[in-house]
């Protein structure tokens, strides 16, 4: 059977906190009058339980529930949602890079398919169709005539007024221009 001393020593934390019923509280109190050991322990426990925890402040207590609520909602959001991505810069950067790569590949693929020049080597070609030259044809034509790579992009050539002028020549003028260039080359010009 449990002695009064053992019973009280188990109840001392509750006694110090004042959470016992009045009857039990009174019983413990009466035991403490006679027992120096329990009295000493109770005194120590009251010191141990004294509030020595620093208060982080009212703002912390008020914002913590909101922060926890928001964090939980963000965690539960599907990974592809805009807000989810906004809070994850790495995921967002990876998504943006992936989108960029897809667009780049699609654009390049399209350009490669579109590159079907109608103008071939002007000096050996029997019949040259100058009726519908595209921007790639102009660059290629120019490169064939000057014998080296033309240092501008096809789009740059179109933007340039000189090349725009070249592109605006009709088939007859183009033939004439080609002939003139050939003569210049023969003369070493």
């Amino acid at each position: 059977m449990k002695s009064m001393h053992d019973e009280v020593s188990d109840l001392l934390p509750e006694y110090v906190a004042g959470s016992l019923s009045d009857e039990v509280q009174g019983r413990v109190k009466r035991h403490l009058l006679d027992c120096g050991d329990c009295r000493e322990t109770a005194s120590l426990l009251s010191r141990v339980s004294s509030p020595d925890v620093p208060d982080p402040g009212e703002i912390f207590w008020k914002t913590l529930p909101v922060r926890v609520g928001n964090a939980v909602r963000d965690e539960k959001r599907p990974w592809w949602s805009v807000r989810h991505l906004l809070f994850r810069p790495f995921a967002m950067a990876a998504t943006a890079a992936a989108i960029f790569v897809v667009f780049f590949v699609l654009l390049k693929g399209r350009e490669a398919v579109e590159y079907e020049p109608i103008l071939r080597y002007p000096y050996t070609e029997v019949v040259v169709d100058y009726s519908d030259p595209g921007i790639y044809d102009i660059k290629r034509y120019a490169e064939l005539v000057i014998g080296e790579e033309f240092p501008v992009t096809p789009y740059g050539m179109v933007e340039d007024s000189y090349h725009r002028e070249l592109a605006s020549l009709d088939p007859g003028q183009m033939e004439h221009f080609s002939e003139a260039l050939l003569q210049e080359m023969k003369k070493g010009g």
Binding site: V16, L32, E40, T41, L44, P65, R67, G69, V72
Partner: protein, 181 residues
């Protein structure tokens, strides 16, 4: 006033504000417990947030075999333990932090010294004994609740608690303190 289980049911059925209500109920107790574990206010502030996020995220798996409060203390205990394992502060830092947080104007020099020695004595206790004393005395948990948080029997809690108190008294006597009622 709704009890914890009603709020949990409300949260699980999608009611807004239920998670926040649970946090408001227990934030001070859990913060205080984590502060006593780490001895550092900033760590305790981070850990209390982590504890609640983890608890709310896992409310669906709360089996209701113990009270929500006990379950929450278990999560806090694990969060605190993981933190201490990962970022163990050296004792000097911890002590400086505690000293910096004290209100020197109110406490007398002797009382402050006693309190410092109590803290040192608590830190010297083996982990299970320190936990038993902290949960029983500081957090006001019953023997049964403490046993559930610590994952042991009530008898083991009583043993750890009594040994812890005994060692603490011996430590204070060694330091020249007579604890009188």
């Amino acid at each position: 006033m709704e009890d914890d289980l009603q709020i949990i049911d409300a949260y699980l059925s999608g009611a807004s504000g239920a998670a926040e209500e649970l946090v408001m109920r227990y934030q001070k107790q859990i913060y205080s417990f984590l502060y006593r574990m780490t001895g550092n206010m900033e760590d305790a502030k981070d850990l209390v947030q982590q504890t609640f996020i983890q608890a709310v995220m896992n409310l669906g798996s709360f089996r209701r075999e113990s009270s929500f409060k006990t379950w929450l203390y278990q999560i806090a205990l694990n969060t605190g333990r993981n933190h201490i394992r990962r970022y163990r502060h050296n004792e000097v830092e911890a002590e400086e932090s505690i000293m910096a947080n004290e209100d020197g104007a109110l406490a007398t020099l002797m009382e402050r010294q006693t309190m410092d020695h109590i803290r040192q004595g608590m830190e010297k206790l083996p982990e299970r004994q320190r936990l038993a004393v902290t949960l029983r005395v500081n957090e006001g948990l019953s023997c049964g609740e403490t046993a559930k948080v610590m994952g042991c029997s009530e008898g083991a809690v009583k043993t750890h608690y009594h040994l812890g108190v005994k060692k603490l008294r011996m430590f204070l006597k060694e330091k020249g303190h007579e604890i009188h009622a």
